[in-house]
């Protein structure tokens, strides 16, 4: 019998790394407005005029940043923005959806802005919908929301999980781009959760309270909880639609190793996007989030470099449906 390929041993820890990255992105979106508020206090040169709560914020941030920087007004400007558009030490990065919707709104091309989305664009073409699984600040809240619904289910509360057509989000994207160009303003940003999160965190920390986006975001959370699990991302998110289209022929994919699979279907249960890893059906919706790699009890999930999904391999060789020796016709029957 041929040697069964095993996944690289660190890949089953990628899901933990992903949670760390999601938490870091979210923490950054909170830290950046706090640092900005501190910068405005520094720029005002009027510590004695601050209110007690403002003084406390000033003291805490000064204590935390003073060992690393000399000039807060300039050096704390190194990292600014959110996942919609931001920059790291001079490197401007923008969401491809921001570029697409800005092009639709102004009906013109502005090359410096388009180039700022080049790196995310190339990464999306290689890794597919990785932004949704690895960076999106809304993903963390949505996955915690999914966990909440799992706990509610455990507690005996039956929550519905309707299935819709996954292609609805492409219509949302098209309608959003049409409305954006008709209205002449980037309306997609009002319903796109990562843009909402970055913006609203800034509004509530540095300006005078939440805007309208937080209501929309809570509505999407309720939609996810009461109508369909992870429903907004699966069926409605215009950004997810764009990345799915861009990542259709992505290079990095997850594949099942049929030789060590025992058909336990844990991968299907854990998949936030309702895909079917058990039957090798990932499609363009997969975010490469590696949750199925982490949960697999027999190490039957791995990464592969292919432009299309691995062809269907039938039932796992360790499962009940697979009969050793007389494989082909039984596999056909199982299909």
């Amino acid at each position: 019998m041929a040697e069964i390929s095993r996944p690289f041993f660190l890949w089953r820890h990628l899901n933990k790394v992903r949670w760390v990255i999601l938490s870091l992105v979210f923490a950054l979106l909170i830290v950046i407005p706090v640092l900005h508020v501190y910068q405005t206090y520094v720029a005002a040169h009027a510590y004695d005029l601050l209110a007690p709560s403002e003084k406390r914020l000033y003291d805490v941030v000064e204590f935390a940043t003073a060992p690393f920087i000399n000039d807060p007004a300039e050096e704390l400007d190194a990292v600014k923005g959110n996942t919609w558009s931001g920059y790291f030490w001079g490197l401007q990065l923008s969401d491809p959806l921001a570029v697409a919707s800005q092009m639709a709104a102004s009906l013109s091309l502005y090359w410096p802005f388009i180039l700022s989305s080049l790196i995310p664009l190339v990464l999306t073409i290689i890794f597919g919908r990785f932004f949704c699984g690895w960076l999106c600040p809304a993903t963390m809240i949505y996955e915690l929301n999914s966990n909440l619904s799992a706990w509610l289910k455990w507690a005996g509360l039956k929550l519905p999980n309707f299935q819709f057509d996954l292609r609805i989000k492409y219509v949302v994207l098209a309608i959003g781009l049409i409305l954006t160009s008709l209205a002449g303003s980037v309306l997609i940003a009002t319903i796109y959760p990562p843009a909402i999160i970055g913006r609203e965190l800034y509004f509530v920390i540095a300006l005078d309270g939440f805007g309208v986006g937080v209501v929309i975001f809570i509505a999407t959370l309720l939609f996810d909880l009461l109508v369909a699990r992870r429903g907004f991302c699966r069926y409605l998110c215009p950004g997810g639609a764009l990345y799915s289209l861009l990542g259709r022929y992505r290079l990095v994919r997850i594949r099942r190793i049929a030789e060590s699979c025992n058909d336990c279907a844990k991968c299907n249960v854990v998949c936030e996007f309702g895909l079917d890893p058990l039957r090798d059906d990932f499609g363009q919706e997969c975010t490469n989030c590696a949750a199925c790699i982490a949960i697999c009890p027999t190490d039957a999930m791995t990464f592969t470099l292919r432009l299309t999904d691995y062809p269907a391999q039938g039932p796992g060789h360790l499962g009940k449906q697979y009969q050793h020796g007389s494989g082909a016709d039984l596999e056909a029957a199982a299909e």
């Binding site: 950046i32 407005p33 900005h36 508020v37 910068q39 405005t40 720029a43 005002a44 007004a73 400007d77 600014k80 923005g81 959110n82 919609w84 558009s85 931001g86 920059y87 401007q92 923008s94 921001a98 919707s101 800005q102 709104a105 102004s106 009906l107 502005y110 410096p112 802005f113 700022s116 057509d165 609805i168 989000k169 219509v171 949302v172 309608i175 959003g176 409305l179 209205a183 002449g184 303003s185 980037v186 309306l187 940003a189 009002t190 319903i191 843009a195 970055g198 913006r199 800034y202 509004f203 540095a206 300006l207 005078d208 939440f210 805007g211 309208v212 986006g213 929309i216 509505a219 409605l236």
Partner: protein, 217 residues
């Protein structure tokens, strides 16, 4: 049979369109196109119809339609603003939703140019300080304290970052301010004005013509 299947396709298509447009409809309902109310602007008399409720940040495209089309609402201009004067149409604004504005009565721009340098699109373009055109200050000479002989002030003249090119006293020994052509509309004079009804305000440049200039021509 055929008619029935066609009907089914039509109804499911309409349902699909409606379902996909739902998020936009919700967001539209939640952000109605209403003027941005501010603390002091509400109290202003209706005498001056050309008083703008808000200003755009410096370097903004003069055509507001082009500005809302170019702005992606990322909030970077606000995140680098040292006086934190740039705010956003967060709860109202219609098609202006998420675009930045400055309310000079609350906190005015100090012309530091950071927002223009950071803007990823051409919505805020890098402009020299004297070429910035956020508007032009206008003084109500029937309310301003020195103009109605209710004391001496000169706060607007002292704070102006453009100096004598933008605002000066009409006579050297009277504290009556007069706006000059070099005003860029930053609004610092509005922020410091002690008068409760704000006799100094930023208006659009095109709606204002200087009386001295008219006499010369």
């Amino acid at each position: 049979m055929k008619r029935r299947s066609l009907l089914r396709v039509l109804t499911s298509g309409a349902a699909l369109l409606g379902f996909s447009a739902l998020p936009y409809g919700v967001s539209r309902l939640l952000a109605p196109p209403a003027p941005q109310p501010t603390n002091r602007a509400i109290k202003l008399s209706a005498r001056h119809q050309d008083r703008r409720i808000f200003l755009r940040p410096p370097g903004a495209l003069k055509n507001d339609v082009a500005f809302t089309a170019a702005c992606i609402g990322c909030g970077l201009c606000g995140e680098v603003c040292p006086p934190r004067c740039i705010k956003f149409h967060a709860r109202s604004g219609g098609s202006q939703v998420n675009t930045p504005y400055i309310d000079p009565a609350e906190r005015a721009c100090t012309l530091c140019n950071k927002c223009m340098e950071v803007c990823p699109t051409e919505a805020l373009t890098v402009t020299k300080r004297q070429d910035i055109d956020m508007g032009i200050a206008r003084i109500d000479q029937t309310a301003c304290y020195p103009w109605v002989d209710k004391g001496i002030c000169g706060a607007c003249v002292s704070i102006c970052p453009q100096g004598k090119a933008a605002i000066a006293y009409k006579h050297w020994n009277q504290y009556r301010p007069v706006v000059k052509d070099g005003c860029v509309g930053c609004g610092l004079c509005v922020e410091v004005c002690p008068h409760p009804s704000l006799p100094i305000w930023i208006t659009e440049r095109k709606s204002y013509s200087l009386p001295e200039k008219k006499k010369l021509l």
